[in-house]
């Protein structure tokens, strides 16, 4: 069985307050259980409470052994790391995996430097846990005990990986932070920047890369997808910011024959009432037209496959 719990579902920065009680205000963090194996996706502010939970439950069964997969190193996805209690527990084995954009910026520096005296009272070298860093690229990895991981680059201002976990015939996929690929080269011959070759190549490249993303999530039981904006907001002034619209994600998941879509990476200004209303509206829009099930991601919720 795969069990996934959401400990954080916001983008950008934690946003506690009366308007974010129901869906939560922590930045992204997912807990995944594959049998007794513990995998965490992202170390946003939500990872603090996940750490406390692990200290109450898993620690009883012996030393902790955890894989953290970072989708990318934007701050909202790594900021909770210094507050993840297991890193202070002797005997903990932690493997931190994630992509880096420039090879000279290594993952251990990007993540570990948050634990330096200028930011934090404890230094990385003083941590009790044994931490290994693993720079990830696009790959298929056999993680043992029947768990297979596939990774795919997404479209975001820095390199960002989508993860597809397959276990006992079920699959969970993360597609965030992600914006559909688009041709950034002008296609209108009247545009002073028009270049016929670039326009053509750009169209093909964007289409092919988007098809690859669809194939990556094809047939998945559960997809956690970036839906920071509505299509209206996106088209108004958010193109190129690295996030998707609800409309895009729903369409993509439908085309890829996904069973269930969790709409994720909520905008910090989106209130509980708005999220509930958007969920209702999109469900009504697609009602009877698809077998796809859609749901707004909610902090504290658990999903079993």
């Amino acid at each position: 069985m795969i069990k996934m719990s959401i400990w954080g579902d916001r983008g950008s920065i934690p946003c506690p307050g009366p308007d974010t009680v129901e869906y939560g205000g922590n930045t992204s963090c997912l807990e995944l259980r594959f049998g007794d194996r513990l995998v965490v996706v992202d170390a946003g502010s939500g990872i603090r409470q996940l750490g406390d939970h692990i200290m109450k439950t898993d620690i009883k069964r012996g030393p902790l052994d955890i894989d953290i997969f970072l989708t990318h190193t934007h701050w909202d996805h790594i900021m909770g790391f210094p507050m993840f209690t297991p890193i202070y527990v002797p005997g903990t084995k932690l493997r931190v995996h994630g992509p880096v954009t420039y090879e000279e910026d290594t993952l251990d520096k990007i993540i570990g430097n948050q634990l330096s005296y200028r930011y934090w009272p404890v230094r990385q070298s003083e941590l009790a846990a044994k931490i290994e860093y693993d720079q990830m690229k696009e790959a298929t990895l056999d993680m043992g005990n029947g768990l297979v991981l596939k990774t795919k680059y997404l479209n975001h201002p820095i390199l960002c990986l989508g993860y597809r976990f397959e276990f006992e015939g079920k699959s969970v996929v993360t597609i965030y932070d992600h914006e559909p690929f688009r041709n950034v080269f002008p296609t209108d011959p009247a545009d002073p920047d028009y270049d016929a070759d670039a326009a053509l190549e750009g169209e093909t490249a964007a289409r092919e890369e988007n098809e690859k993303i669809l194939r990556f999530m094809a047939g998945a039981d559960l997809v956690v997808h970036d839906t920071q904006y509505t299509a209206k907001e996106y088209n108004l002034n958010k193109i190129g910011w690295g996030h998707s619209s609800f409309e895009y994600a729903i369409n993509a998941a439908h085309k890829a024959k996904v069973k269930k879509l969790l709409m994720f990476h909520h905008d910090i200004n989106r209130t509980d009432a708005e999220l509930t209303e958007l969920e209702r509206k999109y469900r009504a829009d697609i009602g009877g037209k698809t077998s796809l099930e859609i749901q707004m991601a909610k902090e504290g919720s658990t999903h079993e496959l």
Binding site: F185, D195, A198, E201, G242
Partner: protein
């Protein structure tokens, strides 16, 4: 000096190879502009063999291992994002104090730039004339632009030895790669291959860099690209468009024309187009 020592120096240089001095000003101008158009970014990168190579390296080292090497700069910009590419370009645009070192260098970098661009542009034009599939045309350009990559570290790191190699070539009327081998015990094809491999460039480019002076022995799958670049290189040398050190280049084997299905008339057909394109590039680099 031992050749192991030379190779070590070259390897150290490859890791931090700056873009060419000719393009630096324009790279800085374009990449420091928050509103840069992708078209300008694409253009400036494709005018500099080092920049081009390093952007392809970035995309291919990320995607390496999946057998889907990217050779198109347009695709790389779409996949990596404009800002990532801009950042990379900025980090390679080092204002080097080449001006006071230039006097001791064998090859003037401005002439080298013009030669490289000419071979790239000519390769693309010949490919188009021969009806090569639109999707591969950019690969012809890239292979041409990068074919002499190995000369950059030799010229900049082993300047003294390289001056000697060049004067030997002049004195004895030898092709430059010949003299390089004698004087430095390696040549720009070998050095270029090391760079192209460490940058994980696709095999068509690696093979072209490696075999553009030993093309008759080549039996790999990229003969069409290799022979086109060989022809373009010859064209650049005899027309003296730019200068990359070869005052006595070898005549090319008739089999090159035969294989490509061309005659020498092709040179006349493309000459004005090539010169115009290079002139446009020069204007682009000088204006702001």
């Amino acid at each position: 000096m031992s050749s192991a020592n030379n190779l070590e120096k070259i390897n150290a240089y490859i890791g931090r190879m700056p873009s060419l001095p000719v393009t630096v000003t324009k790279v800085l101008e374009i990449c420091n502009n928050p509103k840069t158009s992708p078209t300008d970014l694409n253009r400036i990168i494709s005018l500099d063999p080092v920049l081009m190579g390093r952007v392809l390296k970035l995309i291919n080292s990320a995607y390496y291992g999946l057998g889907q090497q990217v050779t198109s700069l347009v695709r790389a910009i779409i996949m990596l994002g404009i800002n990532t590419v801009k950042n990379l370009a900025l980090s390679t645009a080092v204002v080097d104090n080449l001006s006071d070192r230039a006097a001791f260098q064998a090859i003037n970098m401005d002439g080298f730039w013009r030669h490289s661009l000419c071979v790239g542009v000519t390769s693309r034009m010949v490919a188009k004339k021969r009806g090569v599939d639109q999707r591969s045309v950019e690969e012809y350009f890239a292979a041409g632009l990068l074919h002499d990559l190995g000369k950059i570290p030799m010229n900049n790191v082993l300047s003294k030895e390289y001056v000697l190699a060049m004067s030997m070539a002049d004195r004895e009327r030898l092709p430059l790669y010949f003299a390089e081998k004698r004087e430095i015990d390696t040549d720009h094809s070998e050095v270029g291959t090391i760079i192209a491999q460490s940058w994980k460039l696709d095999r068509a480019i690696v093979d072209t860099v490696n075999a553009h002076h030993a093309y008759l022995e080549y039996d790999g799958p990229y003969k069409d690209i290799l022979y086109t670049v060989v022809l373009a290189n010859y064209f650049a040398n005899i027309q003296e468009i730019g200068f990359s050190g070869d005052r006595y280049p070898e005549r090319i084997d008739p089999s090159v024309y035969q294989f490509l299905g061309l005659t020498r008339d092709i040179f006349e057909e493309i000459e004005s187009g090539v010169t115009a394109e290079i002139e446009n590039a020069r204007i682009f680099l000088k204006t702001n």
